[in-house]
């Protein structure tokens, strides 16, 4: 019995390779995000559980911001899934940035699976207080 289950377990990845492996690999989860404005910058928080700083890639191409992170779990060999809500190996999401964001000054850090992106506005678009002087 043990041998039979083992064989099946090793056969599955091959099946996956031959048929529809592209679909399996391309499927990505869309992470939930919060976006808010504070202190002349936009802040983006994204839930990316299982993503490490090494497996996370953030790219800005023109005005397109792409977040992509691979879920890295330590799984023992020969494990079979019996229940799964997270059914992809990676997270991916794209955002269009407005022209007022200074894309060179974007800062990112990831802690406990939460990505915090700081997107500062260009100095010319920052909020200025205009003093009203008595005439």
């Amino acid at each position: 019995m043990n041998e039979i289950t083992r064989q099946e377990a090793t056969r599955q990845p091959q099946v996956q390779e031959s048929e529809g492996s592209r679909d399996e690999r391309d499927r990505a989860l869309q992470p939930p995000v919060d976006i808010f404005e504070e202190g002349n910058a936009l802040h983006l928080l994204a839930d990316l559980p299982g993503v490490t700083p090494e497996s996370l890639s953030i790219e800005v191409d023109n005005n397109l911001l792409s977040l992509e992170g691979e879920i890295r779990l330590e799984m023992p060999e020969g494990m079979s899934a019996i229940y799964a809500e997270v059914r992809a190996q990676r997270f991916a999401r794209r955002f269009t940035l407005s022209h007022e964001i200074d894309s060179d000054a974007i800062e990112a850090r990831i802690e406990n699976g939460v990505l915090h992106l700081q997107l500062p506005k260009k100095p010319s678009h920052q909020r200025r207080r205009i003093e009203v002087r008595a005439a």
Partner: protein, 153 residues
Amino acid sequence: MFGDLRRYDTGSPWGVDWFREWLDEILPEPGATDIRAVPRGTYPMINIGRTDDAVRVYVFAAGLTAGDLELSLQDNVLTVRGERQVVPDEPEGDERRPYFRRERAGGSFARSIALPEGLDADRAEARWRNGVFEITLPKREELKPRRIEIQSA
């Protein structure tokens, strides 16, 4: 690895479910669309895997640290409970910050999930890394797969 599971769900071993296939075709959904699918925004999401000697539960709880999640096991039902604050406190004295998107779930949560029978709760271990909690529940000795030797008569 958990991505494989979808294949078992969509295949219909009890005959071709042509209507469902046809529906899936004309209304493709980005997410999984079966009885196990959870509503978008469910927090935390849970995966369960099994090896020969243990069951492993993965709780995808981004933003929580070791002390924020309470795990309990009773009669093969695992309950995860906790609370999370989604965004840092607003700076004092400042006006309310404008939000453009609020999708992340916050506040307190509790989820219960049934596990296979025969797990040894006393030897359970939990680890936590990058927002994922991994709970290892060893199977009791008598439930591990066993090889039976055939002897010649």
